[in-house]
């Protein structure tokens, strides 16, 4: 059966003609979000865990390096680019306090550098840090600051700065959760350019955590000043390629070139401005109308169009992407979802390939587990039902009802976004056909959506998560210690309390044997498939489209000679400092 990638967006001319006709007949003159296959909710806190575990050596999964500039074409300095992104950020912009999701990282990585970066060998490289060295049993880490680097306000970058930032990180909400096993942070007495971090349990992959929010280094002078004068909190000062110029919530974030950036020749642009445009179609129209120069999108339709369009430059980011899925609350009192048969019935009843094709334009790859093809633990066949089997679903429900007679009802929570609603309605239909007696769909406003999950106030929930690299980055999403009671905030939204899963997660955290870690991750993958804790959708793809004279972002060479990787640890991240404009 053929599936063309013909964009479903039609020539506006036809639409206009139709409109003209309608207008003539009537005689009178007569617009959430991006839609992915599953969900495009950007959360406030925590969808992007930057906690990492990982291996020192090459993982079995291969990483895909981002494109590099074509040979022979020299980037030109200068110019200004306006970029449309998904959302604005809550509690901006201090590293320990901000609730950083994709749109946040995309913006703030230009102001802050992170201590380490992911490289194309499946590991990490020091970036802002000169080196990150462990002791023998990985309980003491020494982070050395790069020489000659100063913050935008002139403050020198040294061990004290690192220590200050990490200490504040310990007090933060998300960063604090990641750094929970850290017992001490202090300046190295022997070397003022280094900071020493002590952890309570062997943490072989600590440097991976420094790729993200925990590793953002802000100027201690600014941090202290904004403690006193809180409106300064939104004027961040870092070491990055761009300097803060202006921020207006929900409107723009403008930054100008840092002429003394330590990683020459970057950046190329003189000025960079980010504009949050939450509706994916609005973003698309903004680019078409020329109001913005570049955008970032996860919407399958848009991506399908951009892939074949010659009106825009287009780059795709598929590494270590998040997974869109339906989250189930599995330990709720009295809920039918406590039973494996009901959960798996829902999985068998859903026709995922059809959804991906019709609604997602087949842009994304179907998911069979939480790990996308470049993440550790990915399996071609995890045991999760990938095809609809309504008979099986009905059989499972019948079995359950034989044991627990009575009607089954489910509440499905989703956002206001049209695509998610469409998917939810299909799911509702299928599940009723499978034997669930009642399925209601609850639309929740964007602001409190993630909180509904965090409080455990849901049964079925559309979500997107689990980007990253190493299994350890998912620790707090799945471990039973993070499963607070309903009514309290928890990161383990589904309240999964599985001793087998806990054991695997704990073992992975302490291990530095890459082969064993691979096995563990794969076991976790299979466990999820057997228990049907979540209903997997598809792996997200991100695309960056820009005007034809704006060269999209590429990779770059890290100080140690390796190449950087898009998105590892933080799905959808790219490097704006590599963007340049053709004059």
């Amino acid at each position: 059966m053929s599936q063309s990638l013909t964009p479903s967006r039609r020539r506006p001319g036809r639409l206009l003609a139709a409109l003209a006709i309608s207008a003539g007949l009537i005689g009178a003159a007569c617009g959430g979000d991006d839609g992915g296959t599953s969900t495009e909710t950007t959360a406030g806190a925590g969808t992007e865990t930057t906690a990492a575990g990982g291996t020192e050596t090459t993982a079995a999964a291969t990483t895909v390096p981002p494109p590099t500039t074509e040979a022979g074409i020299e980037p030109v300095a200068g110019g200004k680019v306006i970029m449309g992104i998904e959302a604005d950020t809550s509690n901006p912009w201090r590293p320990a306090e901000m609730l950083c999701a994709i749109a946040c990282h995309q913006v703030i990585r230009n102001i802050y550098d992170s201590l380490t970066m992911p490289n194309d060998e499946g590991s990490w490289s020091p970036y802002l840090a000169e080196s990150v060295t462990p002791n023998d049993d990985f309980t003491v880490w020494t982070i050395t600051a790069r020489d000659g680097v100063t913050f935008h306000d002139g403050t020198p970058f040294d061990g004290a700065a690192i220590a200050d930032n990490l200490t504040r990180g310990q007090a933060g909400i998300t960063t604090g959760a990641i750094l929970r096993s850290v017992t001490d942070v202090s300046v190295d007495p022997a070397d003022p350019m280094s900071a020493v971090v002590t952890v309570s349990a062997s943490w072989a992959a600590f440097p991976f955590a420094l790729i993200g929010q925990v590793g953002y280094m802000a100027s201690p002078a600014w941090l202290a000043a904004s403690d006193a004068e809180t409106t300064l909190k939104t004027a961040p000062v870092g070491t990055g390629p761009f300097v803060y110029a202006d921020y207006k919530p929900n409107e723009l974030f403008r930054m100008t070139k840092n002429p003394d950036y330590w990683n020459a020749p970057y950046p190329y642009l003189d000025e960079l401005e980010f504009r949050p445009i939450s509706d994916g179609l609005n973003r698309r129209d903004a680019l078409s109308s020329g109001t913005i120069d570049m955008l970032h999108t996860g919407n399958g339709q848009n991506i399908a169009e951009y892939r074949v369009s010659d009106e825009v430059n287009y780059t795709e980011i598929t590494n270590n992407g998040e997974t869109g899925y339906t989250l189930l609350h599995v330990t709720q009192e009295g809920s039918p979802l406590q039973d494996r048969r009901v959960r798996c019935a829902l999985a068998y009843a859903t026709d995922n390939p059809a959804l991906n094709e019709t609604i997602g334009a087949s842009v994304n790859e179907l998911a069979n587990g939480p790990f996308s093809p470049t993440q550790i633990g990915y399996l071609e066949d995890s045991g999760f039902p990938m095809e609809q089997d309504m008979a099986m679903a009905q059989q499972l429900i019948a079995e359950y009802k034989a044991e627990f007679p009575g009607p089954i009802s489910l509440a499905l929570a989703t956002t206001q976004d049209q695509t998610n609603l469409t998917i939810a309605q299909f799911q509702q239909q299928w599940w009723i056909e499978a034997g669930i007696d009642e399925v209601t769909i609850d639309q929740i406003d964007q602001a409190s959506y993630i909180l509904t999950a965090a409080f455990g106030d849901f049964q079925v929930f559309q979500w997107r998560n689990h980007g990253g690299f190493d299994l350890d980055q998912q620790y707090f999403w799945w471990h039973s210690t993070a499963a607070a009671d309903v009514g309290a905030l928890a990161l383990n939204f589904g309240r999964i309390k599985d001793p087998a899963l806990d054991a695997l997660l704990d073992e992975n955290r302490a291990s530095d044997d890459p082969a064993r870690k691979q096995e563990i991750a794969e076991e976790v993958n299979r466990l999820f498939a057997t228990e049907c804790y979540n209903l997997w959708g598809s792996y997200s793809t991100w695309g960056i489209a820009s005007k034809t004279n704006v060269q999209p972002p590429t990779g770059f060479e890290l100080p140690d000679g390796k190449n950087v990787v898009f998105g590892a640890g933080i799905s959808g991240v790219f490097y704006a400092m590599t963007v340049w404009v053709e004059p």
Binding site: G27, A28, G31, S90, N250, S289, L451, A454, D457, L489
Partner: protein, 321 residues
Amino acid sequence: MSYVLRRLAQTLFVVVAVTFLTSIALRLMPGGEQVLIGLTTGPGATPEQAAAKVKELGLDRPLLVQYFSWMGDFVTGSWGNTWQTNQAIATEVKRAMPTSLYLMVYGQFLALLLAIPTAVWSAYRQNTRFDRMASTSAFGMLSLPNFIVAPILVLIFSVTWKIFPFPSFYRSLWDAPVEHFKAFALPSVTIAIPLYAGYMRLLRADMIASLQSDFITTARAKGVSTPRLLFVHGLRPSLFSLVTSAAVNIGALMGGVVIVEQFFQLNGMGRLTVESIFRREYPTVQYAVVILALIYISVNFFVDLAYAWIDPRVRASRALG
């Protein structure tokens, strides 16, 4: 003097009632304090962090105390910062007000510019083809939701013909007048359409009645020219409903055109209020509500003055009532 006092008392009553009801309504939003904590701290906050946040925001005090504290802050001008973005609330409101003001003014202007002549001519030429078309199309416009009109306008004028920017990022009138008008063009038209329809029908109905009056017949007999007859003698006494409606719409447009503001990304008072409601930014909502209430009351006051000007008979009739 007692008139002034009475109006002041009324004003105070309305403001207090509206803001107090707002306070209560905010508290009763689903999720209650929990959602607020979650939004201002983050999922993963420990109970201690949550409790500390509650104290920091002053939410452990009884409702009345909080209410008076916020109202006091409003009056003294120390409005504080938003809870989640650390922006001075005063700044946010100062940014939102001009946007709403411009939108309201341009929308009303466009609507009235078209409505008054059309209505006058329709009333004069009642039941002719012009009148039927104008009336029907006006009613049609009333039934066109703005969330359909806006994307169509954008499709035509922004995406296809690239005349106007989309979204309409606000540009100040003083800094960049051309961009300013371009930014407000499509949103103003979107708003103006239902306004026009309402005004047209209103004015037409009142004009029709006026044109039957004796003094019109007299003036006509005295040989007054048609335009003068229509626009000077006929229009003035017919303005009641129009003025009332336009006045009420001032308040409504300032605070209520959320859909248009959201779609075009113009950060006006409507959007500020609604987003603050969903994000549980209590002080912001309170202050926005107070301002909108005050605007509504002032508009009412001026409308009453306008009535007296429109028709001296009103002053007399008012004396009765």
